[in-house]
């Protein structure tokens, strides 16, 4: 399975629905995007995911850090 947002294949099952077999949720271990199997294709299909919200995996380490990590005290 491919992450709809960052197109990597590091995707795993997050959970099955607690009641019945209603849906599964998946999560991407690269960009932490998660989605439910019953959501519309603009949230679940890598080809249909809004290009403005796509993430390139290589951009993640350069994202703004909030809050900044302070220096360690000895």
């Amino acid at each position: 399975m491919i992450c709809p947002r960052c197109d990597t294949d590091k995707v795993e099952l997050l959970t099955k629905s607690p009641v019945g077999n209603a849906w599964e949720m998946y999560i991407c271990n690269t960009c932490t995007y998660s989605w439910r199997s019953t959501e519309t294709p603009d949230k679940t299909d890598p080809k249909r995911y809004n290009a403005k919200f796509k993430i390139k995996p290589e951009s993640i380490p350069n994202m703004l850090v909030i809050p900044p990590v302070p220096p360690l005290k000895a």
Binding site: L14, P18, K43, I55, V65, L72
Partner: protein
């Protein structure tokens, strides 16, 4: 909610709620809560929150059955002025300015210490192994391009890592949380928020921050969790004050012993992991646009406690106005008013309801020329105002800052753009404001819409119109006739 009886006695009298459920009963009795009995898809809940906030005096919406989940969800609990008034035990038709004045009066009762209770219902069930947050909480995506399910209305109790059970060092705040695993969350802790101060201290020592994430609290506790107060002040002592002197009930969390709101539906305990950052967001935020994706802190869940049939309370936020704008309206206005009033008793009221105080209207008496501008600059040096306030309009004492028609009147008839408009460059700002450039910096705008006073050059005297004699009498006659005609 089947186990709850509608309280007897007159609703609308001053009343303090100790949990969410008793407030939902009042809302329903007042016609300010609707139930959706049919099963809904989880992702419909966000749309219903948007829809209810679009209505005048929109109700809270309780979803009894959410597809694939065991437990109910409620949204838009604070999402109208009627619900806001009922939260304070006031009549649901109470005008906004009256609600402001009442909150302002109760604010001065601070501190009202809490009552410690044992056997809180939230501690009836505790899971510490094989934790799966989805088993207990009916989670859903709020806005289309949110990066996952978010907790948008959690009351987060965070403790001093050195002294986790200390009452005085406990903070209560609302910070957005992204669900990232069965026992893992992301948290947005901004440096100027209290939790940011705690996290920074703990991370310098490489220590985790113990936290308890409380969902479905009584309405004043949730209100207080998003109220800006000083770092050394206690939110719990303010809850007692805002409940008109009725002490808040608190209890120890099940495994970490943090002092938490006793009435909450669900309490998630865990730790903010020190020195860890991970991709979080975007999330549809209160300025009506998505935040970017950022590297943010991570929470490891170690226990979840809950009442029987826990109700998950969450809020929709979108283009204003939505529930969050009602929640953060007067709880931003009153503390800013108190801070201003402390140095300038001339200040009459503060309306900081626009996007958590990015826009503020101050009404003040003017003692001499330039006074209005000075009051605005004081606002920009308050702890909340420093980062959030960007556009400040100052009006005369007879202009009601909650009445936008009157504010526009003041702007159109008092402002000389050449001398009354000032821009103050390169100040702290709110990074979620998309006009903040770079994120975290603001240029500030002050519009002094007060009437000129000496030694400022007063080119023409302004003689205000007053209502003709008999206006009050005619108001009474006409409204009686209208009432009779509508019968």
């Amino acid at each position: 909610m089947k186990d709850i009886q509608v309280p007897s006695g007159k609703t609308g009298s001053t009343k303090a709620y100790h949990d969410l459920r008793s407030f939902l009963v009042t809302l329903e009795a007042e016609g300010q809560l609707v139930r959706i009995k049919d099963e809904v898809d989880p992702e419909e809940i966000g749309a219903a929150g948007r829809a209810s906030a679009n209505l005048k005096n929109g109700p809270a919406v309780l979803f009894e059955k959410v597809k694939g989940y065991a437990n109910p969800v409620v949204t838009n609990v604070h999402g109208s002025w009627a619900n806001h008034a009922l939260m304070m035990g006031m009549d649901k038709d109470t005008p906004v300015k009256e609600q402001f004045l009442e909150l302002s009066r109760r604010w001065d009762m601070y501190p009202v210490g809490p009552k410690r209770v044992t056997n809180a219902p939230v501690n009836e069930n505790t899971v510490t192994e094989n934790i799966n947050i989805f088993d207990i909480i009916s989670l859903y995506r709020i806005n289309t391009y949110d990066s996952g399910c978010f907790l948008s209305k959690a009351c987060i109790v965070s403790a001093d890592p050195e002294d986790p059970t200390s009452y005085g060092k406990t903070n209560l705040g609302t910070y957005r949380m992204q669900v990232k695993g069965k026992d893992k969350l992301g948290i947005q802790a901004l440096p100027f928020h209290d939790i940011g101060i705690q996290l920074s201290k703990a991370e310098a020592l490489n220590k985790p921050v113990p936290i308890a994430i409380c969902l479905g609290c009584d309405p004043i506790t949730t209100f207080m969790a998003s109220t800006p107060i000083r770092y050394d002040q206690s939110e719990y002592d303010y809850v007692g004050a805002l409940n008109n002197g009725v002490p808040m009930e608190i209890t120890k969390s099940a495994t970490l012993g943090l002092e938490i709101p006793a009435g909450c539906e669900i309490c998630i305990e865990g730790y903010i992991e020190p020195r860890v950052r991970e991709c979080e967001g975007p999330f549809g935020e209160f300025p009506g646009s998505y935040s970017g994706a950022r590297l943010q802190a991570v929470v490891k869940i170690t226990a979840i406690s809950y009442r029987a049939n826990p109700v998950f309370e969450n809020l929709y936020l979108g283009i204003p106005w939505s529930e969050i704008d009602y929640l953060m309206a007067l709880n931003t206005s009153v503390p800013l008013y108190k801070m201003l009033k402390d140095t300038f008793p001339e200040v009459q009221a503060v309306n900081a309801m626009y996007t958590h105080g990015i826009g503020v209207i101050v009404s003040t008496k003017v003692r001499f020329g330039g006074f209005g501008k000075a009051v605005a600059m004081r606002l920009l040096t308050t702890p909340h105002g420093m980062a959030y306030n960007k556009i400040i309009i100052v009006v005369d004492e007879y202009v009601d800052p909650f009445n936008l028609e009157q504010v526009m009147w003041a702007m159109t008839t008092r402002v000389d753009p050449d001398k009354d408009v000032s821009i103050i460059k390169n100040c702290p700002g709110m990074p979620l404001d998309p006009s903040s450039n770079p994120p975290g910096m603001h240029n500030k705008l002050i519009i002094d819409a007060t009437t000129p006073k000496a030694p400022e050059i007063v080119s023409r005297e302004t003689e205000l119109l007053t209502p003709p004699a008999g206006t009050a009498k005619w108001e009474e006659i006409i409204s009686q006739l209208v009432k009779a005609a509508r019968k």
